[in-house]
Point group: C2
DNA sequence: CTCTTATTTCCATACACATCGAAATGAGGA
DNA sequence: TCCTCATTTCGATGTGTATGGAAATAAGAG
C-alpha cells in the first residue's frame, strides 16, 4: 500500500460518523446494509450519510452495489486489511508495536 | 480504546506530513528526534512542522521531552498499539480481516 | 547580561470538510 | 404512464485544517 492510499483511508475513518458506519458494515458482513438502514441505525440524516458513504467509497473502504431500489453498502475487508498491514509494517516495530529492534530493515514504499 | 480516541488518532495520521513524521519517529526509536532534525529530514518549514507535531502530540501518538535546547519527539508505541488493536477488534473480522465469522461476539465499547 | 540557537506562537489567508433541507435522479409497482 | 420509495446531488453556511513568514519564548554559552 502506498502512503497516499493510507492517508486517504485514515482520513476516511477519522470521523465519528464514518467510523461508526464502517464498524456497522463490518458487523453486517458480506450482505452489507442499505443506505437507509444505516441512516436509521445511526440516526444521521440521509443527505449527511450519503456524503460520508461517498467519502468511504472514494477511499476504497466500502463497496456499493444496487439491489432493487436500494443501494447496498458493504465493508471492503481487503482494503482494511491493507491499511492495518501498512500501519503494522511502517508505524509499528516488527513485534507488537514495541520499539523497533533493528533500524536496518526497510519497511515499504516511499 | 474509546472510539473518540481512535478518531483522534486516525485524524492525526490522516495527513501526508504527519504520517511521514510518525514513520520517521518509529524508525528513530526510543531516542526520538529533535524538531529541527525532523523539519530538515522532511523539508517542511519549522512553523508548519510545529503545527503537525502539536497535532500528533494532542492525539497522544507522540511524546515530547526537552533535552537541552532541543525538544525531542518520539513515537508513543503504546498509543499506536492501541489504535491497531482497536481497528483489528472493531473494524476487522476475528481472523485476518476476512468476513466476520460469527455475528454474536461483541467487539468493544460504544 | 547578551548572544545565539531551537522551537513555538501568532496572524492572515486559502482551502477542505461537515451539515442538512430541498430538489433531482433512479427503479420498481399499479 | 404515473406514483411512490430509496438515495443522491445541489446549494448555502459554518467550522476546521493547512500554510508559512515574522515575532516571541526558552535555554545554554561566552
Amino acid at each position: 500500500m502506498q502512503s497516499a492510499t493510507a492517508v486517504s483511508a485514515l482520513g476516511a475513518l477519522a470521523n465519528e460518523h464514518r467510523l461508526a458506519v464502517f464498524r456497522l458494515l463490518v458487523q453486517a458482513g458480506e450482505d452489507g446494509l442499505a443506505a437507509g438502514a444505516i441512516a436509521t441505525a445511526l440516526a444521521v440524516p440521509n443527505s449527511s450519510l450519503s456524503f460520508h458513504l461517498a467519502h468511504l467509497t472514494q477511499a476504497g473502504l466500502v463497496k456499493q452495489e444496487r439491489r432493487g431500489r436500494s443501494l447496498i453498502y458493504s465493508a471492503n475487508y481487503a482494503a482494511m486489511n491493507g491499511l492495518v498491514a501498512y500501519l503494522m509494517e511502517n508505524c509499528c516495530a516488527a513485534s507488537g508495536c514495541g520499539p523497533r529492534p533493528t533500524a536496518g530493515d526497510a519497511p515499504a514504499e516511499q
